[in-house]
């Protein structure tokens, strides 16, 4: 077989860059077979994902990046994308765009070409463009840009062989943006002073002139004068131009992109568009009147599926029938026959046994509910409904020093607070990120925890669940408002693109759910086992009794719970759901009355995030912030629990 001559050196990678929510991750998955989370809202990918892919007889690294509207970053996730391109890792770039919005992807492509990086333009979502009566002349685009242009439908794997083949002739292209004269001059002056880099000096100079201070810290500086020289050049330019330099540079690119896009795409005027069913539904989902009933229906459906089917039917099946009726008695019987030592027997099947506690909690109790939650959440993510929620809650969030966009990480927190903490990167200011990180750690229950709370409150009067929701939501709003007053900095204005509503694809939901379940098993089960071992050891050394006596003033005195609940709070440090599961077991044993169950549910929900979340906060915001968050949350959770206990105790039936 003839060896394939790729224009791409072996050690460097193929980097996918593109506008937000155009299907980069779907393309990444289709190219590499590795799974990157695919959803229908911008900001799904906030970190770089790497995998390898076969091109002919070679395997190349493929890098998936967060979506960026421009390589001049406005937020931290866009900065990640810029830095990958500047790092020199990119041997070739695939610029991915939405066929329905050529102007935007061409703007990005012009910047990549300007950097001198060889690239291929991938026009994705061709199916949706066709459905809307839009046509794209790819050969015209290729001629204007001077690079290969490939139409694709990544989710149905269409156009991928062509894309792979086109990668061999990736080029920087010949389209050149003409900037206003003062910009050209300033860029040329600056370019001469810049150290050698992976991209052209001209593009680096333009980047320095256009980037505002917040995102310029790690850009290379001129040999003479350093950062001060750049600032001086920016100020000089600002005086010479009628508008700010960053905007002038952006507008020059956009104007050329608009010209090219107009030539290559046939746009159908707004009023003669082909009507889709979703077109009629879309305005209703954010409607000032109908939006709320629709939200209620969505929530009710999710509750029926997760709360009733998952937490009721499936848990009954797994916990009572499978584990209670089959696995645990079998394990106990086997252990008694095979293991002669009481110690080993207790370790596996005792009251704090690995099988009877860790595996029963994590597999029989939490897994079915988490599984159904993942299915419901996956469907919601694919539908494009979540960003519309941002429109509905914008007013409320504004009062907490946030804007509607912050609902995305908060809702994601219902899936996993740890991942959601990472997603706060899509927020624009430090203040907003801090507030959301705090609220996630404090009040937003993750799926695993939510489920145990549902199980804990399920047998009680529905009012208990309503009360729980009320308390948690008011705490979030109250703490949000306080945090907004205390944390310095400014909040950003609300501007958010709403993706089209789409029918969720079963295949994607299945893949996504399986991926998340795998992650749950890998991350949660070992921690459940570890927590059980800690409890087991403490029990053996008679520390548990000491601990319960030590915690008694708080646990029994303030919260009015049985002393055994102290153990649940201790393992709650590892994972909140483990703590909640411990409380659930107490409730099962009839040790908690309805007031106690409610107080326990509220306290454990507000309690310290799991250890993984804690380390994620450390990673994102440093030790000091993480410690401060923890130091606030633990006493605060107890305080709210105690207050609730005092109030409910007074009206206890």
């Amino acid at each position: 077989m003839a060896s394939i001559d790729l224009a791409v050196p072996t050690e460097s990678a193929v980097v996918l860059v593109g506008n937000p929510n155009v299907g980069k991750s779907a393309l990444f998955g289709a190219l590499t077979g590795a799974y990157a989370t695919v959803s229908n809202y911008p900001g799904t990918t906030v970190e770089v994902t790497r995998a390898t892919c076969a091109f002919g007889d070679r395997r190349l690294r493929v890098v998936d990046t967060p979506g960026a509207a421009s390589l001049v970053p406005l937020s931290e996730d866009e900065r990640v994308t810029r830095d990958i391109l500047l790092s020199g890792e990119a041997g070739a770039v695939v610029v991915v765009g939405d066929a329905k919005n050529l102007e935007r992807v061409v703007t990005l492509a012009l910047q990549v070409g300007e950097m001198g990086l060889p690239y291929v333009l991938c026009v994705n979502m061709m199916d949706e463009a066709t459905e809307r009566g839009l046509s794209v002349d790819t050969s015209r685009l290729a001629a204007r840009l001077g690079v290969p242009v490939v139409p694709t439908v990544a989710i149905w794997q269409q156009g991928l062989p062509e894309l792979r083949a086109a990668l061999r002739s990736a080029r920087p292209g010949h389209a050149r943006v003409r900037y206003p004269e003062p910009v050209e001059r300033a860029a040329a002056d600056l370019a001469r002073e810049l150290p050698a880099a992976a991209v052209t000096p001209r593009s680096l100079a333009l980047l320095l002139l256009a980037t505002n201070e917040a995102h310029a810290a790690d850009l290379p500086a001129p040999k003479r004068g350093g950062r001060a020289a750049v600032e001086e050049a920016r100020h000089r330019l600002a005086r010479e131009l009628p508008e700010p330099p960053g905007y002038a540079i952006h507008e020059a690119r956009r104007a050329l992109a608009a010209e090219i896009a107009l030539e290559a795409g046939a746009a159908v005027p707004l009023r003669r568009r082909v009507r889709r069913v979703a077109d009629r539904l879309e305005p209703l989902t954010t409607h000032p009147v109908w939006g709320y009933p629709i939200l209620a229906v969505v929530l009710a459906l999710a509750y029926l599926f997760v709360g009733k089917f998952g937490a009721g039917t499936l848990v009954g099946l797994f916990e009572n029938d499978l584990f209670g009726g089959l696995v645990n008695p079998l394990a106990v019987a086997a252990a008694e026959r095979v293991l002669p030592w009481t110690f080993a027997r207790d370790l596996l099947v005792g009251p704090y046994g690995v099988i009877t506690m860790a595996l029963t909690y994590s597999l029989a109790l939490v897994l079915p509910i988490v599984g159904t939650f993942f299915v419901a959440f996956g469907a919601l993510e694919d539908s494009g409904y979540l960003p519309r929620l941002a429109v509905m809650v914008d007013g409320l969030f504004r009062r907490m020093g946030l804007n509607g966009k912050a609902v995305l990480p908060m809702v994601l927190g219902l899936g996993c607070d740890t991942m959601a903490t990472l997603t706060t990167r899509i927020l624009e200011t430090r203040k907003e990120r801090m507030i959301v990180i705090l609220l996630l750690a404090l009040g937003v229950p993750c799926s695993a925890q939510l489920t145990v709370v549902l199980a804990l409150l399920g047998p009680l009067h529905p009012a208990a669940f309503v009360l729980w929701c009320l308390v948690i939501v008011s705490v979030i709003i109250l703490v949000g408002r306080l945090a907004s007053a205390v944390i310095p900095g400014r909040s950003s204005d609300f501007v958010l693109e709403l993706p089209p509503l789409r029918v969720p694809r079963l295949g994607n939901i299945a893949v996504k759910t399986l991926g998340r379940i795998e992650w749950y098993l890998k991350e949660a089960v070992p921690l459940f086992v570890l927590g059980t071992l800690i409890l087991f050891t403490a029990d053996r050394l008679h520390l548990l009794g000491h601990l319960q006596r030590l915690g008694e003033p708080i646990v029994s005195g303030l919260l009015g719970l049985p002393a055994e609940a102290a153990g649940a709070f201790v393992v709650g440090f590892l994972r909140r759901d483990f703590g909640a599961a411990g409380l659930y077991a107490l409730a099962r044993a009839g040790r908690l009355d309805s007031v106690q169950a409610l107080v326990a549910a509220v306290t454990i929900t507000l309690f310290i995030p799991c250890i993984a979340n804690f380390f994620m906060i450390v990673k994102e915001r440093g030790w000091r912030t993480a410690t401060a968050v923890a130091a606030f949350i633990i006493p605060f959770a107890v305080l709210v629990g105690a207050a609730l206990n005092a109030v409910l105790g007074a009206v206890r039936p």
Partner: protein, 163 residues
């Protein structure tokens, strides 16, 4: 960076919210005619209006009552209702009513990130926008893009109505 730019006022101030008739002398005047400029508490007294001729001070009037009054009038005489005044064609985006279409004339955000973001979403001079809804947040369509934005942001986009 300063806050959002002060929007240019293209609107003649003659709509019902700012036009008054003095209850004492009958002078018709707009809110701009009040002579309270030197009063130290003028900022706090948004609800009081003062007649520039006779100096009589009266409350601006309850919006709820005015609304009920309009509702009542409409019910009483649906055909005699005057046709709504044709709105001024050049305004800011937040004045556009749901269903109306306009062309963007100019974007005057004070800070560069906001200018760039609006530009990236297609809100640039020459673009055709259709207002889908104005509450709880404004939602507009620009070509194939749907954009949600808060009123303060819509206020920096100057438009001319086309339909």
């Amino acid at each position: 960076m300063s806050g959002p730019a002060r929007p240019l006022s293209f609107e003649p101030a003659t709509d019902e919210a700012t036009a008054f008739a003095c209850a004492l002398c009958g002078l018709r005047f707009t809110h701009g005619g009040q002579v309270c400029a030197s009063c130290p508490i003028t900022h706090g007294c948004d609800e009081l209006v003062r007649c520039p001729r006779c100096g009589y001070q009266f409350p601006r009037g309850s919006r709820t009552l005015a609304w009920l009054q309009r509702l009542w009038d409409r019910w009483r005489a649906p055909s005699e209702r005057p046709a709504p005044a044709e709105p001024h064609p050049v305004q800011t985006l937040d004045h556009l009513r749901p269903g109306e279409v306009a062309r963007v004339l100019k974007v005057s955000a004070a800070d560069v990130p906001m200018l760039m973001k609006l530009s990236q979403l297609g809100l640039v001079p020459g673009a055709e926008v259709r207002m889908q809804q104005s509450r709880p947040a404004a939602v507009v369509r620009v070509g194939e893009t749907t954009v949600a934005l808060q009123r303060a942001v819509a206020r920096v986009v100057h438009i001319r109505r086309t339909a």
